[in-house]
Symmetry: C2
Subunit: 547 residues, 2 copies
Amino acid sequence: MNMNFSELKQNKKNRLKRVQNFLEGKYVQKENIVKLLENLIEPMDTVCIEGNNQKQAEFLAKSFVQVDPEKVNHIHIIQSSLILSEHIEIFEKGIANKLDFSYASIFGSRLLELAQQGKVTIQGMHTFLELYSRYFLDLTPRVALIVAEKADKEGNLYTGANTEDTPVIVEATAFRNGIVIAEVNEIVDKLPRIDIPSDWVDVVVLSPNKPLINPLFTRDPAKINETKILMAMMIIKGIYAKYGVNRLNHGVGYCTSAVELLLPTYAESLGLKGKICQYMAMNPIPTLIPAIESGFIKKVCVYGGETGMDIYAKSRPDIFSTGRDGTLRSNRCYSQMVGLYGIDLFAGATLQMDIFGNSTTATLGRITGFGGAPNIGGNSSGRRHATQSWLMAGNENKKNENDILRGKKLVVQAVETFQPSGAPSFVEELDAWKLQEQLNMPLPPIMIYGEDVTHIVTEEGMANLLLCRTAEDREQAIRCIAGKTSVGLKRDLNKLNELREKRIVTYPEDIGIHKSEASRDLLSAKSIQDLVECSQGLYQPPAKFLR
Amino acid sequence: MNMNFSELKQNKKNRLKRVQNFLEGKYVQKENIVKLLENLIEPMDTVCIEGNNQKQAEFLAKSFVQVDPEKVNHIHIIQSSLILSEHIEIFEKGIANKLDFSYASIFGSRLLELAQQGKVTIQGMHTFLELYSRYFLDLTPRVALIVAEKADKEGNLYTGANTEDTPVIVEATAFRNGIVIAEVNEIVDKLPRIDIPSDWVDVVVLSPNKPLINPLFTRDPAKINETKILMAMMIIKGIYAKYGVNRLNHGVGYCTSAVELLLPTYAESLGLKGKICQYMAMNPIPTLIPAIESGFIKKVCVYGGETGMDIYAKSRPDIFSTGRDGTLRSNRCYSQMVGLYGIDLFAGATLQMDIFGNSTTATLGRITGFGGAPNIGGNSSGRRHATQSWLMAGNENKKNENDILRGKKLVVQAVETFQPSGAPSFVEELDAWKLQEQLNMPLPPIMIYGEDVTHIVTEEGMANLLLCRTAEDREQAIRCIAGKTSVGLKRDLNKLNELREKRIVTYPEDIGIHKSEASRDLLSAKSIQDLVECSQGLYQPPAKFLR
């Protein structure tokens, strides 16, 4: 037998030779980037165009869609997030035709159309950590188009405050003889710190524009209403205080932002400082500022950066990970791992929930993907270290007296009974089932399965699914907090009293919360301007928030 | 309020100032290392002494135990593996008194004694990924004592073929203003590649000795007997072929080594080449060589290195991750992630299993820890991409017709009914329960819970737990393959026929395997020497295997 076990290496050498004319050291002129990509990328390649939640390899994406589809086609895109219109155009233009991804942001509908036209085959939807895992096993990028802030002459890279996916993409690609192409905003003699060593990088291009970073996770306290405050009070008093939750993740939304803003006021008045919410795994969002400044929160492990928060994070190195240069270090892969194994509670929101507690953001006519939610909102059977919260939840979850005690992650879905659009949040059947049929998917696109959800909080009250012993209890618990939705109207009033007695259903008054207390006065910051002041001017919000 | 949010940074600066006299650039002379540690490490510090499965920060460990316990004490050790006797001495000498860990190797009994004497408080046992997660949130090393092969003058590090935990320890420590101290075997002008940039490193010391690396995972084919071969045949034909398992992890043991050696012979004769076992997430162990050389295995994602395999791995870059220098890149954190989310099957072994399928390597008189097994052998509720194997297992696992279809990871426990020591592998009650009492642990130290196990394979036959619909079926399925152990003797012979009919219990003849076929002739390599030849001399086994 005469097998060749160095095909990838030889092929890489050949590719780089083909584009040698365009290169000076590792650098290519921006005018030549399209030609370089056209000559370097081969049909059928797996390609990752770095698409994070926030920063994007924008110049490379814009360049890649300009290659000649006669030369470069049948590309298999494997990247976590589709954020730029170029991430869709690549399929429209016939350059790529296969996709593995995690999150499609606003492109859910266009992606569905393309799939129906046969222009893209969706090979798989993954959580972030799942896609990164496959990068190292059966789905390695042949070419990675990545983005960094600065490079030095040798091609060492500085990713700065928004590191996100870069290290994991580069490691998977570079160590499999893949090709790593980086766009940077600036070339300097000496980098503030090295995030990616130059020998992991093949080509560097100076981008003509600084890529746009959107303040995706910033929530303006001015928009937090009394309903959200009431829900936040129930979460703090009814869940965080009860279980002693000290390590957690908050999803993006006004309700969890309300929780953050109530920590130095309401939670502190309940004597909870030093007892709950000391360790947060989440993006560095501005509504954390009052709880940080008051010493409530001790550490924040970040997935990415947030516009306007760079100087604040730099000035709070005990709270945030920072490099030798003082700038934030964010690493989505490690933070997602923390979200799975390091936290005791995940609190998030959803668009639809059924009577089994299954929830999803996938609705008719779109293919979305769930980013990290299934991972962070999933209970890990592999976890072995115990905390008070994890054991208490596990204890409540024991269905029979003789079951072995297992710990359990708390998973809280906080959702108003109706969405801002007027659509009910609670439904008898998720759209996900129709979507599955429509798209011929092996499974319905459910974001978090009911068995992982432990608490549901609405403006009506709270359901503790851990304590339910029968399917009927579970269904009725959900109906009893589903308000005036059709799901809620089917509640059994006799059952309600029983469930309240068992503490499966808790209304605010059951835990001594009066609706009239839920006032905006409880917010430690009522506006973006308040957050700026609280940060001593270190938080510098984008202009649009100050209008 | 006047809070200081830069305490860690200032404290780090102070510490480095205290040891400035010992430093030339980042370098300290080996004669001064004990003094440096004594002056740099403070009481109550969290310290990680890099302890991997294989490579160890040995010189730093030996130096650390020499510090004066009057000056340095109450240290909280947070490290994945306790491998060196110094990892225990640190507690005996009163330098450290708290421990968070993953795996205690041969020190299970000494650790238990120390705990009973009050010299160490075990704060937590974790899987690897779980401990790394906490490094980024609530359990960050203040000081990390790490190991690399080479450093350059600036302090950039080359970890070479055995990278293992280094990147994750360093990232967690360096970006929290912790102190990173590296021992290296060699100082060179130019590194073959940079694995850790110098600005993540504070102190470097040239170690007087090259640390010992043991071939922990190498199994000699000469020691594989017909029983293991029979079990391997059942695994290949009864599980891998049935589900089409293409991405998997093998634990360490003769049975899974037998599977590897049967791939180019038995499995190929069944027409399974290109259909199973193409992507392996496991250490680069020599028994993989014949399957790699014959083109059966396409890729191996490695957790660490293995003695003797460096040149082979370097010569097979299509199979193994290698750096620009050609040398193996192993990264335990990423590989553990792959073990959770990227594979469809885990096959391992255990010391004890109860009648519920719970299994553990923890036995009386020792505190062990489970390394990565709970993670790799755990089903992830967060996984969202589908494969044939995962869906088929999930389908079999549906307890009621109306249950939602979920995918499921296959978890195979392959164990002979009696251990080599003569102890039965199957027991009515695990020692773990007594251990829990003895050590006052919150939960019994169970390695893999029964609900995660899908198949149990013994020399008697195979139990498919997915198909069991009642607790009684499950218990009897286990008893029916437990041979002459007291658990096995309690089998219900009437039930046996029913279970065989339902394919819950499968004996070799039920799937057309005759015990007489299970011959050593099926092994593609019968000795270490055969493996060397198969590798064309590229595998260079340690001398002890060639005696």
